[in-house]
C-alpha cells in the first residue's frame, strides 16, 4: 500500500511504510528543461521538513530541493550524478532523488494529494 503526496514546491514523496521516496514532479522537470547537474544528500543525513537538501540545475537555472517531511536520508539515487537527464526522462520513476525514513507521519498532512497538486499546476501552466 503506497500513497503519493506533493509539495507546493513541486517535490513528490511516495510513502511505503515509514520510507518515502522523493523526486520532482513531471511539471517541474518540464519547466526546468534539460537537467545537467544534481547534488544529492548523503545517506544518514537527518533533516527537518522544508530543509534544503538537494540541488538540481538545468541549462537554464539552479533550484534547491526541500525535504517534504522530517527524517533521515536512507539512500540517494547516485545514478543521477552521471545521468541527470534521467530526471527529464522519468521524473516520477527512475529520476527519484533520495529516500527518507519519515520521523513524523503527521507532517504528511501538510502536503497535497494528487488532485490538489494537479489543480495547483493547472493555474501555473
Amino acid at each position: 500500500m503506497s500513497e503519493i503526496y506533493y509539495t507546493e514546491d513541486h517535490e513528490w514523496i511516495l510513502v511505503e511504510g515509514d520510507i518515502g521516496t522523493c523526486g520532482i514532479s513531471e511539471f517541474a522537470q518540464e519547466q526546468l528543461g534539460d537537467i545537467v547537474y544534481v547534488e544529492l544528500p548523503e545517506p544518514g543525513k537527518v533533516v527537518a521538513q522544508n530543509d534544503e537538501l538537494a540541488v538540481v540545475e538545468s541549462v537554464k537555472a539552479a533550484s534547491e530541493i526541500y525535504a517534504p517531511v522530517s527524517g533521515e536520508i536512507t539512500e540517494s539515487n547516485d545514478e543521477l550524478v552521471d545521468e541527470p537527464g534521467k530526471i527529464n526522462e522519468d521524473a516520477m520513476g527512475d529520476g527519484w532523488f533520495f529516500k527518507i525514513r519519515i520521523s513524523d507521519a503527521k507532517e504528511l498532512e501538510d502536503l497535497l494529494d494528487k488532485a490538489a497538486y494537479e489543480a495547483l499546476i493547472a493555474g501555473q501552466r
Binding site: H10, G33, D34, Y37, V56, V59, A62
Partner: protein, 381 residues
Amino acid sequence: MGSLPDQNAPEGGNPQGPLKKTPLHALQVELGGKMVPFAGYEMAVNFPLGVLGEHQHTRAAAGLFDVSHMGQLRLHGAGRASALESLLPADIASLAPGAMRYSQLTNEQGGIIDDLIVTNAGDYLFLVVNGANKDGDLAHITAALPAGITVEHRSGDALLALQGPGAAAVMARLAPDAEKLLFMTAMASNIGGVDCYVSRSGYTGEDGFEVSMPGARAAELAALLLAAAEVEPIGLGARDSLRLEAGLCLHGHDIDNTTTPIEAGLNWSIQKRRRTEGGFPGDAIIQAQLRDGPARKRVGVLPEGRAPAREGTAILDAQGAAIGAITSGGFGPSFGGPVAMGYVATPHAKPDSPLGLVVRGKTLPAHVAKMPFVPARYHRG
C-alpha cells in the same frame, strides 16, 4: 523545490510597456516555441527540441535563429566613417566595402555602452547593436553626429542567423553568391526571391550567416531556410550556451558601462591607428590600459567538478581572497561540463591559475582556461 525558472526574468528586459513582437513571432509560436520576455520582446527560449538538443544540432548541422530584436541602423552622409570613429575605438575609415568589424561604443570612462558590428555596406555604414540597448544607442549616436550625417533606424527590418557546419551547404543551394563570402564580409543578395543583405558572421563560434531583410518578407525566407533538411529552429537558451562556449561577450553581463574593452580582453578589436591616435570616448584610459595593462581581466573559468557556476559567483584565489566574480556561466553541452567567464585581478589571469568558486556557500576548485571552450570554425577561406 526552489523557484522554477522565472518565465518573466528580465534578460536585459524593458520593464515598461507591452512586449514587442518580431516579424517572426507567429512563426516561433507555430513552431512550438516557449515564449518568454527578452530585451523588450516576446521570443522563444526554446523549441520542442529543447536547449541541449538545439545547441547540439547547431554544432552538428545548422540552426536558424530569429535575432530581429537586435537594432539595425544605417549611417548615411559624407564623412560617416570618421564621424562614427568619434564614438568607438575601431578603424572604420579603412573598412573596404563589404568588410565588417566588431567594436564597442565607449563612454568617457572607457566603459562599454554597447558592443556592435559595423559593416561598410558601400552607400552607408550598417550597424547591428543589441536589442536591449538599441533605443539608448540610437539616442547616443544621433546626439553625437555632426550635421550632414544621419542615422536611420531600420526598425521594420528582420534579422535571421543561420549557424553551424551545415549552413554553407544550405546557402550554396539558395544563394550561391553569398556562400562564397568569407568570415566578416557581407554583400547584397537574393534568397528565394527575397532581396536581402547577407554577412558571414554570427554569435555561436560556428561558420554561418546573418541575413537582414524587410520584416514583411522574413516569414517567407525563414520558412525556406527551415525547409532545408539540415536546419532546425533555435531559441534564446541555446543561443546563450553556444556563445558562452565560443567565449563571446554578452553585453550587460560580461561587458557593461563599467568594463573597458581592454579589461574585457577585446584589444584585438582596436586597430593600430586608433591605439596611436585615440579620438574616441575614454581614449586616454584605454590607451593607458593598453600601455600598462588593466588591473583586472576577463578570463575563461573552468570549474573542476560538475557544478555549474552562475553569474555573480564570487571568485577566490588559492589563499581564499576575493579576486573577482563570474559574469556568465552554465553547462557547456558541447564541452561536456560546466564553463564560465568572469573578471579576476590581473596576477591571476594566466591560464591554469588556480581559483575557488563560492557556490551555495562551498568553495569549489576551478582554474583559468583559454577561450573559446570549443574551437571556433569561422570560414576564413
